[in-house]
Amino acid sequence: MSEQASVTPDTPPAEQSSEQPAEQESSESADDESFRPVDTGARSVIRALEKADIEYVFGVQGGAIMPVYDELSFSDQLTHVTMAHEQGAAHAADAYGIVSGAPGVCMVTSGPGVTNLITGIADADMDSDPLLALAGQVPTSFVGNDAFQETDTTGITDPITKHNIFSSHPDEVGNDVGAAAALAAEGRPGPTLVDLPKDVTMGETDVEPDEPSTPDTYEYREEPDPVAVKAAAEAIERADKPLLLAGGGVIKSGASDELRTFATEHGIPVVTTMPGLGSFPEDHELSLEMGGMHGPGYANMAISHCDLLIGVGTRFEDRLTGDIETFAPNAAVIHVDIDPSEISKNIEADYPVVGDAAAAITAINDAIDESPTIDDWRETVFEWKDDYPMGYPTPDDRPVQPEFIVEAVDEATADDTIVTTGVGQHQMWACQYWTYKEPRTWVSSHGLGTMGYGLPAAIGARVAADDEQDVVCFDGDGSFLMTIQELSVAVREEMDITFVVLNNEYIGMVRQWQDAFYEGRRTASNYQWVPEFDKLAEAFGARGFSIEHYDEAPDTIQAALEYDGPSVIDARIDPEANVYPMVPAGGNNVEFALEKNQL
């Protein structure tokens, strides 16, 4: 991070304190010149963020939020990253939350500032990412009058937030922000929003916010019930064909070590969901990688044939299950989740275990007296690995295959490299052909499926990552164009990110579906022309590269990775490349297609 990122005070603190009324010049504040007692709602907002240990704010300025921005300039703790567009601010904050586990904070003005944020909030809601959104609002007396840049922020965001708060008084606004920050991260994480009317942030108050805490009505259970644990443990002991299904909750709970211990101790194979990528090392022999629509055949064979499915931190989303009626039809289901409303929502849980994933896995493992006897099942699963190998052709008469690029970048980077993506074919190739080994290295838009997520997410991930960690964004040409303005942020902040655009000049996944389900009518999916992304990158001030042939890939990838700053590789891939295997939407997982004719 460059220091340019921080908003520096217009006036030195010393000059500010000389303007303070004499009675506030206590000896305490004289010792620490930077300490400024709360005097307005805006300062209380900043103080609450500081007390919540927030370090970064991703945002865009604007009229109604200006009082808070002005106070932000005095904070030594908070660094602001100025984004190009509010959607970018939300995605960057979201990705920051995924990588760090702490709430990502985005801050925008009222009206269009908020409506531009909506996609990012909805994305965080679908993926249970810790996100705190601070939104300016017109003064309270104007609310409801259709004032300039007024919008019904709490009304619009109610369905897509874990909780939102219309802040109504300068004395309370700090605690509103503190509660929203705590709620975003605790229990099942999710997005929260505080609507900040300008009169509230400008209003006078001397109330210092409390330590951030969740409202007293918010409850969740970490330690699972021993009776439920015992029942689950006995079901595992009895099972002939058990299968672990690790979701994003494993990563959010920090339960990867517990999961690995549990799986290896009993030799139970592991399938992950897409958000669960990285929860279990994919180079482990028990890993069957990702299940569902574009998972490898062996993962879906295992899901379809297991007799006990141990789902941890997953909501059994339809891209995983396919047709509910044919999903794991022989399996009793153990469902571990911190949110009781996920239990039996989509798939009935025979053994519900409400609690934190790490605590629950440990408790269940402790309660197992004897490992199940499952040598035959493991053999069967390993045979499926041989029967349904992943792979791709590299014909001389075709452009570069996308899978090759993904594997080449994986080989050129360390295990802790963070991958972000947009949405579409490139995202699926990144799921299939990158070998995820560590939690919090996979940053993508799973539930909402937001094209354009990858670029701003890479910015947030870069801010949250260790300096030594590489950040790679795989994007499609369509996705990249949707939020390309954020490249200016990566350049300005001198961020070391490698963007790999798998460029087929199509909305590729739509083109694939049109070929499969709409008799090849490629309506509105063929861009026919896209910018030269390497040159566009140079225009932004980033380094541009391109790959058109296999033999230039290794050196080009190496050069892009080594460049200390944002670089963009325009990888001209085979425009006809498809993503297989594929379970059609609402289809039976066991009938995954290995080619178009099988759909």
Partner: protein, 223 residues
């Protein structure tokens, strides 16, 4: 790589779908494992949920929005103050199959301003109010019919008489029917307000959601 079709050089290896072993079981649309040979769609139930909530702006909108976006079938919704000025009570009558009822309770409890949720037992006391305005040609007859339904005239003028009737939904429906003979001009009705019978609590003093979160349903009616 094997090329099993002319137009798809990318075909992956492996047995085709019809060459694979298939599992025999089946689930229903609710995700419950069922006998593939028997039709087993659970029937909808009509249940009354009572939610104790913080008395603050936006709670009613939160609840209404939740039931709308999750497509729960809602028959009536009422809100009103309680014995505690900081708390309000929302009574909902919904019609859902059992998994939907459980899901509605859990989703409702998840809203931050909601303190407690309970599904009321069938013997709970529930009442609705109807205000029925009829022509004033025979006020005495109107009054005596109102009394038969345990109600009374609450407004009378030269042209109209208005009566109030309280009771269960079927009783109110019968009453509205009966008043048709006088020429009904307008009817206004509330949804149900309900309270648990006897020493039962309508909303538990100590929320049981957390205590029972390990079992399904986490919010259980008294039994």
């Amino acid at each position: 790589m094997s090329n099993t079709s002319d137009d798809d050089y990318q075909a992956l290896e492996g047995p085709a779908p019809d060459e694979r072993p298939k599992p025999r079981g089946q689930r229903n649309a609710q995700g419950q494992r069922v006998d593939p040979n028997a039709d087993s769609t659970p029937d909808p139930e009509r249940v009354t949920l009572s939610a104790l909530v913080k008395h603050e702006p936006g709670v009613l909108a939160d609840v209404a929005s939740l039931f709308r976006r999750r497509q729960f079938n809602i028959e009536s919704l009422t809100v009103g103050p309680t014995e505690d000025p900081d708390r309000a009570r929302i009574t909902l009558v919904i019609e859902e199959p059992r998994p939907g009822v459980q899901q509605a309770k859990k989703q409702l409890r998840k809203l931050i301003p909601v303190i407690a949720v309970r599904e009321l037992k069938p013997d709970a006391i529930d009442r609705e109010l109807a205000l029925i305005k009829v022509d004033a040609e025979n006020p005495a007859a109107v009054q005596s019919l109102a009394e038969m339904y345990g109600g009374q005239a609450v407004g009378a003028g030269r042209e109209t008489v208005t009566v109030e009737i309280t009771g269960s939904r079927p009783k109110l429906e019968a009453a509205v029917d009966a008043f048709e003979q006088f020429g009904v001009r307008e009817v206004t009705r509330t949804g149900a307000a309900a309270i648990a019978r006897g020493t039962d609590w309508t909303a538990p003093v100590e929320d049981e959601w957390n205590a029972k979160a390990d079992t399904i349903p986490p919010v259980e009616a008294d039994d």
